[in-house]
């Protein structure tokens, strides 16, 4: 789960990481004046969105006067932001954070991430902060410092010192820096993070070391031991994805028009690839899980159909422990219950496949079966091309109903 800047800073505050004074968070629908701005500025108004590069996109504004600050808050709420990290789509600003501004002398990049290959946390840092680290890794990799962290011992003092010298931290801030480096490593371990990033970590003109930004990504698998995090809203998951998750279905919405229902994450991914290879585009990733029953199949269909773009559904099940005849029965029941009105292509394979196919055949439901995933994908693409989808049908039905 990705945390917004202010949520990350709430955690930083608990660990005594030095931060700028925060005046508050204003949500869409709140009046801008609801935030108390204290005695004197300048202030900075920051869009709370889950994407780096928001500064360039107008998501960070400095205000010298109160009026200016309130104007920025009003303008920023509801604003659409597109950055290099939003993959082309626009994020709507629903919350802004207001804090005091500072004069920056130097910007440093500091983060702790998981090194998959070493199976250990690693500190990634650069004396050149404030910029995109991906960009820096590409253009000036020599400026990036890596410090591996022992997962059982944490960051050791000498490592923190080595890091400080490598980043040319002024003597005056040495102790603060080593403390901070050790603390964010501890945060990483204690909140079960996969990323803790401060970009930038700054040294101000008046010589203070401050974390200006906070980015924390946590491990969903560890939420069972972080009740506070588990209670937070997940800003990245859509309503429909959340609904799916609650019943043990893994769903991710995509741009295409062929709805997919598959058992197993790897096979589901490969199904999307096969649809593409056949000339179509999948509307979703959907893994019904290993032990899907009639109820889950029905729910899965309901979820797929909530996406108005869906013009055909492809079901790809490799029955292992999950028996094909059970799945077939589930499909028949779900189809009847939901009065499914899009073409349905089903590929069943594995345990009790003969019985499963017989159930589908005897049901009298209009559906297409396929013996391989490739055949199924081609049939689904062809069905969409023929325009049998509900868009056309639905409109036809409406027209029919409107006749006297």
């Amino acid at each position: 789960m990705k945390l917004l800047e202010y949520e990350g800073k709430d955690i930083f505050e608990k660990y005594n990481i030095p931060l700028l004074k925060r005046f508050g968070v204003v949500r869409i629908g709140d009046s801008a004046e609801s935030v108390k701005l204290g005695d004197c500025g300048p202030w900075v108004v920051k869009a709370q969105v889950l994407a780096g590069g928001r500064g360039k996109a107008g998501g960070v504004k400095i205000a010298k006067t109160r009026d200016e600050a309130y104007t920025h808050i009003k303008n920023m709420l509801g604003m659409k932001i597109v950055t290099h990290q939003t993959s082309g789509t626009a994020l709507t600003v629903e919350e802004v954070l207001v804090e005091s501004a500072c004069e920056i002398e130097r910007e440093i990049y500091l983060s702790v991430v998981l090194d998959r290959k070493e199976a250990a946390p690693v500190i990634i840092a650069s004396a050149q902060g404030g910029v995109s680290i991906e960009e820096l890794a590409r253009t000036k990799p020599e400026l990036i410092v890596r410090t591996p962290v022992d997962p059982l011992a944490g960051l050791m003092d000498f490592q923190a010192r080595e890091l400080a010298f490598a980043l040319k931290i002024p003597k005056k801030n040495l102790r603060d820096f080593t403390e901070l480096a050790k603390t964010i490593t501890r945060i990483f371990m204690e909140v079960d993070a996969s990323l803790v990033e401060i970009n930038p970590l700054v040294i101000t003109k008046d010589g203070r070391l401050l974390a200006i930004d906070a980015k924390i990504v946590t491990d969903d698998n560890a939420l069972f031991r972080h009740k506070d995090l588990a209670a937070k809203p997940d800003h990245e998951t859509s309503e429909i994805e959340k609904e799916a998750k609650e019943i043990g279905i893994n769903y991710i919405g995509l741009d295409g028009n062929i709805g997919c229902m598959v058992n197993g994450a790897g096979l589901a991914m490969a199904t999307l690839d096969t649809v593409k290879l056949a000339g179509g585009n999948a509307a979703n990733f959907l893994d019904v899980g290993g032990g899907a029953n009639v109820e889950q199949v029905t729910k899965a269909f309901q979820i797929i159909l909530k996406d108005a773009k869906v013009k055909a559904i492809l079901v790809n099940i490799f029955g292992g422990i999950m028996k094909c005849d059970n799945i077939a029965a589930g499909i028949v029941e779900a189809t009847k219950k939901l009065k499914l009105n899009v073409p349905l292509v089903i590929r069943l394979e594995g345990t009790n496949v003969k019985e499963g196919k017989a159930i589908l055949k005897d049901s009298g439901i209009k559906l297409d079966t396929a013996d391989s995933l490739w055949e199924a994908a081609q049939k689904a693409v062809a069905a969409v091309a023929r325009g049998e989808g509900r868009g056309e049908r639905g409109e036809g039905a409406e027209r029919g109903n409107s006749l006297p």
């Binding site: 997962p151 371990m189 079960d192 491990d219 969903d220 994450a265 790897g266 096979l267 593409k276």
Partner: protein
């Protein structure tokens, strides 16, 4: 021969008395696997599925001489079960559990490294995997046994049902399998592709390898490097996730493309460069392998 498991493997099941553990242990027994005991703290002294249950792995190992662990323990306790098995002297640990926190696995890996450096190497398969099967001899996992056939293809994969798909195609194309290993879909795991390729390379029964990768991480790129430098047997591969959008976690915690690393394109390029036959269309993996291997296999048999 085969790798990791054979008909003599003696298996203890952690979480034997739970619903998942009971069901799958029974399936493994029906396949012919030698499940010798279960481990469930607090249920020591009971019998379940006609085998004894022990409170601790150490006692189970001491009493039964088991060398393999199969773990079905829920995520909050699974990492501890892996360590319990490792410190009890188990040599091959297969962890099926899905949803173990990544940092738990980070700690586990550190302990396993320590054990290896002290002369007690342990092989961990998984977590979040379907397990391991040596067709006709031993099954330790949740895969449907009947889709497999004894033969000369080693199969290694990061995914469950995707493995079944590949195995079923191989079996239908007349190609049996030496051992099929699901290494799992988590970012931090036990064996990786390179570790399995090393074993398949040395295994006399394995003539060729089918490798099923997916987006995320750099395991496929590492495998490509190993293959180009050391692999002496033909390798066929499929990489899932070509059309997955960046930044989204596709079911498996490991299947996520971050920045420019772990993309489908980089993996396919590296594998092709290493001489691997990469199949674009999953439905063709069995047929492709059969077309390239069958004449050779037949010649070998004569």
């Amino acid at each position: 021969m085969s790798i990791l498991l054979n008909k003599d493997s003696k298996i203890i099941v952690h979480g034997l008395t739970g619903a998942q553990g009971s069901f799958h242990a029974q399936q493994c027994m029906d396949y012919g696997s030698r499940i010798v005991a279960g481990v469930t703290p607090g249920k020591g002294g009971d019998r379940h599925l006609e085998v004894p249950v022990f409170d601790t792995a150490a006692y189970a190992v001491k009493t039964t001489g088991a060398d393999t662990s199969l773990i079905f323990v829920p995520p909050p306790f699974a990492a501890d079960s892996i360590l319990e098995a490792a410190y009890a002297g188990i040599k091959v640990i297969i962890c099926i559990t899905e949803g173990i926190p990544v940092l738990d696995m980070v700690r586990v890996k550190k302990h396993l490294k320590r054990l290896a450096s002290e002369g007690c190497p342990v092989t961990l398969v998984g977590p979040n995997c379907p397990g391991v099967i040596t067709p006709g001899e031993c099954k330790a996992g949740i895969m449907p046994g009947y889709i497999h056939k004894k033969g000369g293809i080693g199969v290694v994969s990061r995914s469950g049902t995707l493995t079944y798909e590949a195995v079923w195609q191989l079996t239908n194309s007349g190609l049996g399998q030496s051992t099929v290993i699901g290494i799992g879909g988590d970012p931090v795991q036990g064996m990786n592709f390179v570790d399995t390729l090393k074993l398949f390379k040395e295994d006399r029964e394995t003539r060729a390898v089918v490798m099923i990768g997916e987006i995320g991480g750099s395991a496929e790129e590492d495998a490509a490097r190993f293959i180009s430098e050391h692999m002496t047997k033909p390798v066929f591969a499929f990489v899932a996730g070509k059309t997955a959008p960046p930044g989204r976690r596709m079911g498996h915690a490991g299947a996520i493309v971050e920045g420019n690393s772990g993309t489908h394109a980089s993996k396919v390029k590296a594998l092709k460069k290493a001489g691997v036959c990469v199949v674009e269309n999953l439905s063709h993996i069995g047929g492709t392998a059969a077309a390239k291997l069958k004449p050779k296999v037949k010649a070998g048999k004569k």
